[in-house]
Amino acid sequence: MNYISIKNNQTILLSDIPESNYEWFYDKNIDLVSGHPERHCVNYFGYKSGNNIKLICCIADDSTHEILISTCLVNKAHDLESFTNKLLCFEKFEREIHENFGINYIDHPWLKPVRYANNRFDKSQVIANYPFYSIDSEELHEVGVGPIHAGIIEPGHFRFICNGEQILHLEIQLGYQHRGIEQLFIKKKKLLQRATLAESIAGDTAVGHSVTFAHVWESLCNFQTSRDIEFSRTLALELERIAIHVGDLSGVCTDVAYQLGSSVFGRLRTPIINFLQEWGGNRLTKGLIRPGRNQFPFTSALAERLKQVLDIFEPEFNEMVEKLFSLPSALSRFERTGVVSNADALSIGAVGMAARMTNLNRDIRSSHPFSFYPDLNHQPILKRHGDVYSRVQIRREEVEQSISYIRKLISKIEPFIVQEEILKTPKPNSFCLSLVEGWRGEICHCALTDKNGELMFYKIKDPSFHNWLALALSVRNNEISDFPICNKSFNLSYSGHDL
């Protein structure tokens, strides 16, 4: 058996990962994923090892709650066969490996740049010269949007090929947000600097990425967190989910020109994020989660306050959501708009809401549970149609589910344990992988340490890395005027993708 099976947040020695030749590595990983919807690739990356490139592939198995890690050493002068030719879900991972190291895949459909990373292999490739797909036809026209969009959102370029008002094809080009975060993780040596970086990966998922980084770091340092630390993290993750889902419902209403829903959901986000500020001093939860400590212990006074907030929030949210879901003019814009089939979601390796909307059960809270999720016995919310309506329904039901989890959690607060911060140096020559279900979906961080226990390589994967392709597929054969609502109903991260 040339792979090692680990649990979420487990640290192993790098030498424990069995190394195989590329032929075996290729066959085995394809074999693991192909025809197995319960398995998918959570991370696949390369790093420099002498003059060669070491590839590490991480396949999560949701039924056994294990992650299967395999590795392979390749010489970049040699052309490789691409996984993508067999399984589309590896498409972006291989493009990234090609962009960073110049490894050539002979049968990859199109090795386009992913984000024009600062550490890319070929610096002559610049973002202004992105090779868009185009169709030569007198009937078709192209529409280019971005990188700067009409609203207050992050930059990215969308290139549509349209037949009249109908979209035939959409290509999404990203990379504008690239800040070199993975390199900074190595360069910045202080733990607080790294924690600050983690919460800046995607500022709307500050809790999600901070918890993932904290789990990686604590596992590398063999630090056992007390119950109250994980209690706060679970609570923060669910509050972040409510805040953003409600904000997204507002955005969706804006995009179908439903003013009342837009205003009411927009303002309903405020009591939740204002509570987060009352708890940790920042509306977007920056500074709330730190490795190895409970930065802002959750007190019974805070629990009482949160209960008050939810008691007011819940009926107001329900009233608005019931109205929205009974409005024919809104539903007619949601239903059968922006459909992604289950087969497509599976083939591209969609995660989080983008998977669950097509009845593809991917939710780390139940498949690789962490923090308090084993106690909560989380049941993922699944929809079948894969359209805007499914995505809106998931948000509504997840908000209701998160409220019930929070009520359950705060009925019995974990007492604050004053724990000596004994974060030792990370274990040398090690590998750690951590998975967390943020509000968008699965977040995966991998860390590698060198012989002195220094961070040698840090790999971040935001769920958007998988899901941008789902958005591109969803708009095919839709009217271009429905693009905004499709985009908003996914609400993917630009900065989390570009890093």
Partner: protein, 249 residues
């Protein structure tokens, strides 16, 4: 119809009557105070993730500060964060808070460009550019115009095109990959125009200041009219900053 009226009725009055005087709830890390207490300065300086704290005298540069509060946690007798959300100035140096300083941070009316009050005093339309922003300042800029903060009551709005704008608002440290787009957007905005930087990342690069993936040369070419610190900037910081800049005192 009756449902709609019920919903509106149940919302009650949501708007904040006066965003220039309202108090923020709970804990908030706003303008810091630095006492003259003697502490181990090396340790204090070493704590800061972005080197925002400097010595002789001990001071905090809010243009670099991530408002993480670590310094106040370990040196509570030296540093405390007040709930004052008025953090903006038109002068970069005014963002540096020194030991013993208790005065509020203000826009200096003497150094504000003459045309700003006259042209933008009653109406200001802005084009926002996210240039490596992590979507936290973007959320807060959006929140500035929700029904609670309601910035448009002052005639301040965000518009879709730079052609309709009186200035640009930049968030994020300005990545190399966005540098050209920032320049094009600025060039497309008609004169007279202002530049506003929102958030620590935009003002100094923040935690990304040393990254080789950013390119801040745009900011060397043009004068910045307003700095709004925060990580992210609070909607009240944003509204008060823009009002201080454009309204007569």
């Amino acid at each position: 119809m009756i449902d709609n009226i019920k919903i509106v009725y149940h919302q009650g009055k949501q708007f904040i009557p006066n965003p220039t005087t309202v108090e923020v709830p709970g804990v908030f890390r706003g303008r810091p105070l630095i006492s003259r207490e003697k502490v181990n300065e090396t340790e204090l300086l070493d704590l800061c993730p972005t080197d925002a704290i400097t010595d002789n005298p001990i001071s905090i540069d809010l243009g670099k500060c991530t408002f993480c509060g670590e310094c106040a946690r370990y040196f509570p007798e030296k540093i405390s964060f007040t709930k004052d959300y008025k953090l903006s100035s038109n002068e970069r140096n005014r963002l540096i808070i020194k030991e013993g300083e208790v005065n509020p941070i203000e826009v200096n009316p003497d150094t504000v460009r003459k045309e700003i009050h006259r042209v933008f005093g009653k109406s200001l339309k802005l084009r926002q550019i996210s240039a490596g922003g992590d979507n936290s300042c973007e959320w807060e800029l959006g929140a500035s115009n929700n029904v609670q903060f309601d910035m448009s009551r002052y005639g301040i709005d965000f518009v879709a095109s730079p052609r309709h704008a009186d200035g640009i608002v930049i968030t994020g440290p300005i990545t190399k990959n966005m540098a050209e787009a920032v320049q094009i957007c600025y060039d497309a905005t008609p004169d007279p125009k202002i530049i506003v930087l929102v958030g620590t990342d935009a003002i100094s690069g923040g935690i990304f200041a040393e990254s080789t993936a950013i390119d801040r040369s745009f900011l060397e070419k043009y004068p910045v009219d307003l700095y709004i610190p925060g990580n992210p900037a609070h909607p009240l910081s944003i509204i008060n900053g823009l009002l201080d800049l454009t309204r007569k005192h």
